[in-house]
């Protein structure tokens, strides 16, 4: 007897669009991130039922509702912890965490750090719009000093942090940045994060059209981008400018943006640099003193928590198959006749 197996139709973007009406503000940067994600997933060769999107609280965290996959909209800041339980229970799933600058770096800072530290195999996409959107415009941990918001009418006096530096400090093996207005680049970065074996952090520079409109415009605007962002590519010099006439030059510990650097003077990007020092140095570059780096900061192999955990369990099971009888009768026993 022969069985004919009809090969499943290849998945398309449409398969990943959920019927739920999208409720982000018109013009929100989240739309392009959603579209990019829906476009990338069919290319990964993973069955649709094996994708899980886990989110916390905030505008970005509504994302799972708009994906026609398994999804879990959890509580504020805890998505990395929830996703850890999902992934450890079923390592066959590809688990994405969707979060924002408030969700990941403020209330959820602890879980963000530890998911990366453990190299838990989840992909964290952090939408950074440098403001609290869903609670109506308060400053966030990535807002600049002086940000005027409902909670800081005289300007924020809080010093911000860099999500990239934070992730590197937490020992993350894959750290990248992209922007909501460059779909092609975003797609490449998402695909690289998906391919990485372990915890991946992708910061997406995302525009909140209501409370922090054009916050990233001075560097990622169409006309500003070339002179104010540097596209990092592994093994290539860190050149930027309209004619790629500028380069980043490293002298001891100091990075200098130079026009027309000498041949061989420009620093060559190395995402595999093992100490993470280069990635950290690059993560410190900010507008307007420096071009803002986008692309992959770091992409190095780290031991896998899941592999090590599975090994312990498999070894224990091979040596000593589960038996309630043995368990109950372990230790000192005695019989009452």
């Amino acid at each position: 007897m022969t069985t004919t197996i009809t090969p499943a139709e290849p998945l398309t973007r449409k398969d990943f669009a959920s019927p739920t009406a999208i409720r982000w503000c018109p013009g929100c940067g989240d739309y392009s991130i959603l579209t990019t994600m829906q476009g990338i997933l069919p290319t990964l060769g993973i069955p649709k039922e094996n994708f899980v999107f886990v989110s916390g609280i905030g505008c970005s965290s509504r994302f799972p509702y708009y994906m026609n996959t398994y999804g879990f909209h959890t509580i504020h800041g805890r998505a990395p912890a929830v996703s850890t339980g999902v992934k450890l229970t079923n390592p066959d799933l590809q688990v994405w965490v969707i979060t924002g600058d408030g969700d990941a770096l403020s209330i959820g800072g602890n879980h963000f750090i530890h998911a990366l530290r453990r190299n838990m195999d989840v992909k964290i996409i952090l939408f950074n719009n440098r403001i609290y959107g869903l609670t109506k415009g308060q400053y966030s941990p990535t807002s600049g000093v002086g940000t005027v918001s409902p909670s800081t009418p005289y300007g924020s006096v809080d010093l911000p942090l860099s999500p990239i530096s934070m992730a590197l400090g937490a020992e993350a093996g894959f750290v990248a940045r992209t922007s909501d207005n460059d779909i092609k680049h975003m797609g490449e970065v998402f695909a690289a994060a998906a391919a990485y074996k372990g915890a991946a952090l992708v910061e997406v520079l995302q525009n909140c059209v209501i409370f922090a409109d054009k916050i990233h415009e001075p560097y990622y605007g169409r006309n500003e981008r070339k002179d104010n962002m540097v596209y990092m590519k592994h093994g290539e010099p860190l050149r930027y400018g309209k004619e790629l006439e500028r380069g980043l030059v490293l002298d001891k510990m100091t990075m200098t943006p130079k026009v027309n650097p000498a041949e061989g003077e420009t620093l060559v990007h190395d995402e595999k640099e093992s100490s993470g020092a280069l990635a950290f140095l690059l993560s410190r570059l900010s507008h307007p003193e420096y071009p803002v780096p986008v692309g992959v900061f770091r992409n190095v192999e780290r031991p896998s928590y899941i592999t090590a955990m599975r090994h312990q369990i498999d070894t224990a099971q091979a040596k000593n198959p589960p038996s309630l009888d043995k368990l109950f009768n372990s230790g000192s026993t005695w019989t009452v006749e």
């Binding site: 649709k48 039922e49 805890r78 912890a81 339980g85 992934k87 450890l88 005695w334």
Partner: protein
């Protein structure tokens, strides 16, 4: 006294024997003196001999509080008997005090005329000063009411182990086994159980194989203590506690935390769902983490999370992905988990939350017991957020109730709280090993590919929704903390739906009352009062009620293991009772719950001293209350 007594032959038959029904001993010393090991060894010997028993360790929150101070005192109490017993005992028949601080902290519990065994080496001027005592109790006559047995146990031990080569502090550390030897003589117990244990722990097949002097010296100290008691006539006679008439079968000793571990592993085997245990270390719940971590052969995933919130959040993630999600903690940890428990209620996922209660509020009394988290786990969440609450009544009952918590969680798709407490978690008792084949398989509500699936469609009987596990083709769906539309589970804010969903969540939990045992009245039915207790006080309250009834009172007793929902017949029992008395180790939480639920007046017996009730205290309170107006 520094005679070398190690080589004097054992001849226990020369002294007379006195038979007693039951004995309560407390070993007390500095936290570095090995009192927990001494107590455990004595307990194992009593268990193997066939006594019924109950134990209660009592140790400081500090790992090594300054030596010799009252804060550093560690104690282990065992009640063993030829009869059925349910408590670790009230007043002590014997107190072993290894130093002045141990005496000061524990002498108040020794019965009048009780035996007090003292290591004189722990009563120097410095020890008296560290214990903040005004004078030396060995000299000031304050111990005249007791049978004081003094010996320089430290020095005797040092001499006894000399030939093994062990010296100084290491030699001195063997004094707990010397003391144990004395106690074995007093209660006519063979040494072989402990000798064997020392070989297993420190013998040639262990990591101590290069230090044979450790096993040798401890064995030597044990023998020497026994011979010392025999030779120098510390006591005029042995005491004998005969075997208890326990139900036939095979037994082992089990603590509450061990029993919880066994229950969870059993639930995993019976449901076919792997345990995911997300946990953050906390006293007195950490032993559950340690216990489960040893049993990876059951496919258990133990995850030591970065905090209490991640511990429960990861367990919820596992439950979403098809695992048997479990987290355990104590009160301060529950405070941190409450928001996530609400997420569990809203997403209707099976989850077990074990709360090993301790004294509060805040950090409170980490190593001391209390029952004061009841109302927090009942109501401590935003919104109307009902979930089942169970409470184990004894160390071995933690097994039964952990299995039951899993059954309810899986059948009804809900988080379930299991309350235990520091007293039953660390206390131990004999456990009649159950026939695991007789424990029923557990049903799960898995949805499968091809069925018409709606995330919040409910089973008409249980009201449970289906469990659609990621990885199942065709059942892709989204859940979350926002209010759900009936059936579809889509996000919904409209008023009718919220009312309907709130009603459904309540009906689901309330309906579990049809699936749990009815409350049973022990003691005198239709008597002068109904005593209602819950959780870990079962042993003390039931013993007190029995004693009161023997003394001519007419008391009924209902003990609750199900706090939400309550047994279906409880309202009727309470309404028909002449009066209702609720003893509990808090300021009146069950009293408030029952009073509010059934609109009845209740009298409370409330104590928060970090310790279980004493039977004598309960009995006197019951007498007092019955003499007062309702």
């Amino acid at each position: 006294m520094s005679t070398d007594v190690t080589n004097i032959p054992i001849n226990p038959n020369e002294k007379s024997h006195i038979d007693v029904d039951s004995v309560t001993i407390r070993f007390a010393g500095d936290s570095g003196d090995g009192m927990q090991i001494t107590g455990t060894q004595f307990t194992d010997a009593a268990a193997v001999f066939g006594n019924d028993l109950a134990t209660m360790p009592d140790f400081p929150a500090e790992i090594r509080a300054p030596a010799g101070t009252v804060a550093g005192v560690s104690a282990y109490q065992i009640h063993f008997s030829s009869e059925d017993i349910k408590t670790p005992g009230d007043d002590l028949n014997v107190l072993v005090a290894m130093n002045a601080a141990a005496l000061k902290a524990n002498i108040g519990d020794l019965e009048e005329g009780g035996i007090l065994l003292i290591d004189e080496a722990g009563f120097t001027d410095k020890d008296i000063e560290k214990a903040e005592m005004k004078s030396n109790p060995l000299e000031d006559g304050s111990l005249n009411g007791y049978r004081v047995i003094k010996a320089n146990i430290t020095e005797l031990t040092m001499n006894a182990v000399k030939e093994t080569g062990l010296k100084g502090k290491s030699a001195e550390l063997c004094k707990n086994f010397f003391t144990l030897g004395i106690m074995y003589w007093l209660y006519d117990r063979p040494l072989n159980h402990t000798l064997k244990w020392l070989d297993e722990k420190y013998g040639p097949k262990t990591k101590y194989k290069d230090k044979p002097e450790i096993a040798a010296s401890n064995k030597q100290a044990l023998n020497a203590g026994y011979n010392f008691a025999d030779t120098v006539e510390l006591f005029t006679s042995h005491y004998r506690v005969k075997k208890a008439a326990l139900p036939k079968g095979k037994y082992r000793k089990i603590s509450g935390n061990e029993a919880t571990v066994f229950g969870l592993l059993t639930a995993s085997q019976k449901s076919g769902r792997k345990i995911f245990y997300g946990s953050y270390p906390i006293t007195p719940a950490s032993d559950i983490l340690h216990g489960l971590s040893k049993h990876k052969n059951f496919g258990v995933i133990t995850f030591q999370a970065e905090d209490e919130i991640a511990a429960i959040a990861s367990a919820i993630g596992s439950a979403y992905a098809g695992g048997l999600g479990v987290t355990a903690t104590s009160g301060p940890g529950i405070c941190l988990k409450l928001e996530a428990m609400g997420l569990g209620v809203m997403t209707e996922l099976p989850l077990i939350i074990v709360d090993v209660q301790r004294g509060g509020p805040s950090t409170g009394l980490p190593t001391k017991t209390e029952q004061s988290d009841l109302l927090m786990v009942m109501f401590g969440r935003s919104g109307d957020s009902p979930l089942p609450v169970l409470a184990a009544r004894s160390p071995s009952d933690c097994f039964t109730m952990a299995v039951e918590a899993a059954r309810i969680a899986l059948k009804y798709m809900t988080p379930v709280v299991l309350l235990t407490d520091g007293y039953i978690a660390n206390g131990a008792e004999p456990w009649l090993i159950p026939d695991h084949a007789a424990i029923p398989e557990m049903k799960t509500n898995l949805a499968s590919t091809g069925e018409s699936f709606q995330a919040y469609a409910r089973d008409p009987v249980t009201n449970a929704r289906k469990w659609a596990i990621p990885g199942t083709p065709g059942l892709e769906h989204r859940i979350g903390g926002l209010e759900k539309a009936q059936n579809t589970g889509a996000v919904a804010y409209d008023p009718e739906n919220h009312q309907a969903m709130t009603n459904q969540r309540h009906a689901k939990i309330a309906g579990i009352a049809n699936d749990i045992p009815l409350a049973e009245v022990m003691g005198v039915k239709d008597g002068d009062a109904l005593v209602v207790s819950w959780g870990g006080t079962f042993g003390t309250v039931s013993t007190a009620v029995e004693e009161c009834n023997k003394a001519g009172m007419k008391l009924g007793h209902v003990h609750l293991q199900y706090l939400n929902p309550l047994p279906k017949n409880l309202g009727e029992l309470l309404n028909n009772a002449e009066r209702v008395i609720v003893p509990e180790l808090n300021m009146g939480q069950l009293r408030m719950l029952l009073g509010g639920t059934f609109g009845i007046k209740i009298q409370g017996i409330n104590q928060v001293r970090g310790k279980p009730f004493k039977v004598s205290y309960l009995a006197s309170e019951l007498h007092r209350i019955l003499e007062t107006q309702k």
